[in-house]
């Protein structure tokens, strides 16, 4: 668990803090996304966790211990670190890059090699093809996979990720996000994840901390609650006018409680149960139908506009549980 307790950062020679009195907790095994406009101090906040930036006021506790209880380098070896620009070592092979922290920690060679291969597998790069290559031989998406593998190398309980999928095209980004969520289901790291993209925040976060200019926390909550009950003008404008549609993307149609369809469904539009409700709605409208059939576990459910409205509980109603299980 990571706890921010009244954390502020003011740079010397400046009278305005870049992060101001930040307090929130990241529970064990969850992804907390720090999101906000540029200059809101989200990256600064993240970098104070592993003390790449030192705190001016307040403290950050990791499993109850202040992060100042050991040296900065020792602390950083225990915390995974992945950044947008990746920062792979161009003069080292992929295997050496991934093995950086295990090497610093003094693991023996065979254990490092085994771990490297295991991680290459995890991030979907065939070890035999990639371990001896240099970063320049890899595409941007492959490099970001290696960056994530490198951050995971010593199996740190905590990870810091600063727009780790930011440097690739939208399609690659989406697949990297999906893959990472799949990996996270198994490894259950406690993650501080920085992005400027609210859609990424909604997709990746178990919790979202929205920061505003001057490093002030505007709202800290689940994506569902932030979308359904933004507690300020700033948050609602930051999440966007389409926040209702965004909420629809938190749920897959297969997870909806749908009325059973009893026969006569042959002419109806069929929708894949893996689609998000948002995409299903789009298909429904696009096809000109008002109802569609969703096949799930051998049963046919009936997707209607009413069912979607019910899911939303009205545009500003109670948050709907189950959104998170879409991951």
């Amino acid at each position: 668990m990571i706890e921010f307790k009244g954390v502020s950062k003011t740079y010397p020679g400046s009278d305005r803090p870049v992060v101001k009195d930040l307090s929130f907790e990241v529970p064990e095994g969850e992804i907390c996304v720090l999101v906000g406009p540029s200059g809101c101090g989200k990256t600064t906040s993240m970098r104070m966790v592993n003390r790449l930036i030192e705190i001016t006021e307040g403290e950050i506790l990791i499993d109850g211990e202040p992060n100042t209880s050991m040296s900065g380098t020792q602390l950083r070896r225990k915390i995974g670190y992945a950044i947008q620009q990746i920062g792979l070592f161009p003069h080292r092979t992929i295997a050496d890059n991934i093995g950086t922290v295990p090497n610093l920690l003094g693991w023996d060679k065979s254990r490092i090699k085994q771990r490297v291969d295991e991680l290459l597998d995890t991030v979907g790069l065939a070890p035999d093809d990639y371990r001896a290559r240099y970063p320049a031989e890899l595409s941007g998406g492959q490099q970001q996979r290696v960056g994530v593998a490198r951050a995971l190398a010593a199996d740190p309980p905590i990870m810091l990720m600063d727009e780790p999928f930011g440097a690739v095209d939208p399609i690659t980004r989406e697949s990297l996000q999906d893959e990472f969520l799949r990996i996270q289901r198994d490894i259950k790291k406690t993650i501080v994840f920085v992005t400027h993209d609210i859609d990424e925040a909604i997709k990746m976060g178990d919790k979202i901390a929205i920061l505003k200019q001057g490093g002030v926390l505007a709202q800290y909550d689940t994506p569902e609650n932030i979308l359904s009950r933004p507690d300020s003008e700033f948050v609602s404008s930051f999440v966007g006018a389409d926040r209702v549609l965004k909420r629809l993307s938190l749920t897959r149609v297969g997870e909806m409680d749908l009325e059973r369809a009893n026969g006569g469904t042959d002419e109806l539009l069929r929708i894949n149960e893996r689609l998000t409700v948002r995409d299903a709605l789009s298909e429904l409208i696009g096809s000109g139908h008002t109802r569609a059939v969703v096949e799930k576990d051998g049963e046919n459910g009936l997707l209607t506009f009413e069912a979607i409205e019910e899911l939303m509980g009205g545009a500003s109603g109670e948050p709907v549980d189950g959104g998170k299980s879409s991951k």
Binding site: R76, Y81, G87, L88, F89, T100, V101, L104, E137
Partner: protein
Amino acid sequence: MSNPALLLLQDVLEEPKLIDWEWIGENFSEDILPALQGHIFLSFVSVGIALLIALPIGILSARYRKAYPPVTFVTGALYSIPSLALLAILISIPGVAIGPSPVIIALVAYSLLILIRNTVAGLDSVPPETKDAARGMGLTDRQILFRVELPLALPIIVAGIRIATVTIIGIATIGAYINGGGLGTLIFDGIGRQFPTMIIAGAVLATALAITADLLLLALERYLRPWARVRRA
């Protein structure tokens, strides 16, 4: 041809041949080879000493940016002194005897600017995100310097060594003027004796030496950068 006086006269009147291979054959091991060895000695000792001075200064200048302008000012001033004048100044200093040492001092002084500048440029060329990732993973400052920054800066540093070496091999010929040895001995003697063969031997060997050193260092530069040889994805 039987009259010795005529023979002598012919010898004097005849234009000296541009390249007298016979002379080269006869004097190779006595004059030419020692001059070449002396030249190699002067150049490489100078570059070696210059590196020992320039690397730490370059690393510190890259770290503590305020030190860099004064460092470039001083080494730039040294670089701009005409070589002959620098040698003259050096041997006028009491305690500095004529011979190889003032030559080496002068050559070191000439290489510092190039070597320090390339060290700083090399360290500056390391991508900031690479350093950030290194720090974020828990490398110490020293580990970052030796495992990340210097290896990545090395090609540019070696490029500096190439330029410095070629420059120095050229300038070192002047060292013979103050008895520093080297291929300049052949050139100066050749001028004094109006014997082109010696001049040409000295000049050609100095040029060949410079080109050879340049190519060897180029090969070293390539060797030190295996990651740049690979094809981009």
